[in-house]
């Protein structure tokens, strides 16, 4: 049977064309809104009852430990130094990021939950070691007297050098890299950018995949230095939203 291809279009074809035009119109209308999409503020979801209970239980457990511990609150962008359930000091940070290891552009991530979890026995790398002074018995220079000016003794800020990049390490497989922006008060140590790159390369060059979860935070120089110098001994760290 030969169909007539000339003349008026049949009704079915017309409806198909009409619906196609509608689709195109719809796409054209949506396109500008998709291209010019405004950045929706990345708000943290309000924690549900289960999460609140979970956080309370973890906090309570740490508070009863009788030791200093840290609470990293992602949404608040602060790390709190706590003891017995009260916040003693807090340190603001910015730009929290999650790391993934790349080997020849293949992204690899350790698939393990790290939020709403207590990370035990954290420590700093490099350590916040104090450059201790030896007192020479009988030497007035090492011992101030009320009358004589003597040598002005150094402060802890002068005795504890702060690196511009340090990390909070946890033996259970977490590392939080802290990068300090701006001037660091008093003594500091600066690592060359090449040394940093080389270390970053070496640490990612593992065939079996990353051995830790990595987060990265930024702090301003003064806050980061205060945090580094005051870091407690092997504190536990709770990460919550």
């Amino acid at each position: 049977m030969i169909q007539n291809r000339t003349g008026a279009r049949p009704e079915g074809a017309r409806s198909v064309l009409r619906s196609g035009a509608f689709w195109w119109l719809g796409i054209l209308l949506l396109l500008p809104s998709a291209c010019g999409r405004q950045d929706v503020p990345d708000a943290a979801p309000a924690p549900d009852a289960a999460r609140q209970v979970q956080a309370e239980l973890l906090r309570g457990e740490l508070a009863g430990g009788g030791q200093y511990y840290y609470e990293l609150r992602l949404a608040e962008k602060r790390i709190h130094l706590c003891h017995s359930g009260i916040s003693i000091r807090h340190y603001a940070f910015s730009d929290p990021r999650l790391g993934s290891s790349r080997l020849a552009n293949l992204s690899r991530q350790r698939d393990e939950p790290w939020l709403y979890r207590v990370w035990r026995g954290t420590f700093l790398e490099p350590a916040n070691s104090l450059q201790r002074k030896q007192i020479i018995p009988g030497d007035e220079r090492t011992r101030p007297t009320p009358g004589a000016a003597g040598v002005i003794p150094p402060t802890m800020e002068e005795l504890i050098p702060v690196p511009d990049d340090f990390r909070i390490q946890c033996p259970e497989g977490l590392a939080i890299l802290v990068h300090l922006n701006g001037p660091i008060p008093y003594t500091f140590v600066e690592e060359s950018p090449w040394a940093k790159r080389w270390r970053n390369f070496q640490e990612a060059f593992q065939w079996e995949g990353p051995d830790q979860i990595r987060l990265r935070l930024e702090m301003d120089g003064a806050t980061g230095a205060a945090f580094f110098r005051s870091y407690a001994e092997k504190p536990d760290l709770l990460i919550i939203l």
């Binding site: 990345d42 708000a43 943290a44 979801p45 009852a49 289960a50 999460r51 609140q52 209970v53 979970q54 309370e56 239980l57 309570g60 508070a63 200093y68 992602l74 130094l81 003891h83 017995s84 009260i86 003693i88 000091r89 929290p96 990021r97 999650l98 790391g99 993934s100 790349r102 080997l103 020849a104 939950p113 939020l115 979890r117 104090l130 201790r132 002074k133 030896q134 018995p137 009988g138 011992r143 101030p144 009320p146 002005i152 003794p153 150094p154 402060t155 802890m156 800020e157 504890i160 790159r197 970053n200 640490e203 990612a204 990595r214 987060l215 990265r216 110098r229 005051s230 407690a232 939203l241």
Partner: protein, 243 residues
Amino acid sequence: MSELPDPVTAADLPSAGPSRRKSRKGLLACLLLLWIVLGAAVITGIFLGQTTGWHYDPIPLATSLQYAVPASHPPDAPETRKLLLKQAKALKKTRPRKVFVVVDRVHNQLDLRDGDQVLLKAVISCGAGSVLEDQKSGRKWVFDTPMGRFRVVNKRSNPRWTAPDWEYIETNEPLPRSYSDRVQEGMLGEYALDLNLRGYMIHGTLYSRLLGRSVSHGCIRVGRDDLRVLWKRVPIGTDVFIF
């Protein structure tokens, strides 16, 4: 007359051309191969350098719960409520009840706090962190202000100080024979608040010009005016958090 041999011509010599050319070709091939290997190594190095390493992406807070440990306690379960209640009771006991003191050893600052409200901010002097060794006895002292949670167990006005051995070793003086020779007045200022760690206290100082610097042997030295406020507002039993 003997005949002279015919002069040697280049045509008579064994032909060296093709073998020399061959060795030159071999050398060139080796060089080329070396260059290819080196180039490949450099390109691989650059590629690995650019594509290997840790990189960091922003954490999307809105979807961050995907990284959370699954909640183990259902919020409405009676056991969970019991557990929370038990914990709240325990926390009520451990939390400081009224005012408490916070000592920042690094920045030589003392805060008197009531909850989040700061009642007093004072510049103090904490432990110098220095080390003293007695060559004769082999004893060693590290002058640190200890870190942790402590409590005020005693308050004294016009306190007397019983100088320990290190005081004499530091000044290279002989150790006194009698206890009374060790007692010194005025060294601790007007008041002393003893902590529940033997020998450590919050007290006044003669070295007020050194407030803000780490100079003490582990005690917390406070200026006269601030010490008067502490004396008034800090009762026995007050918690002292040193970090």
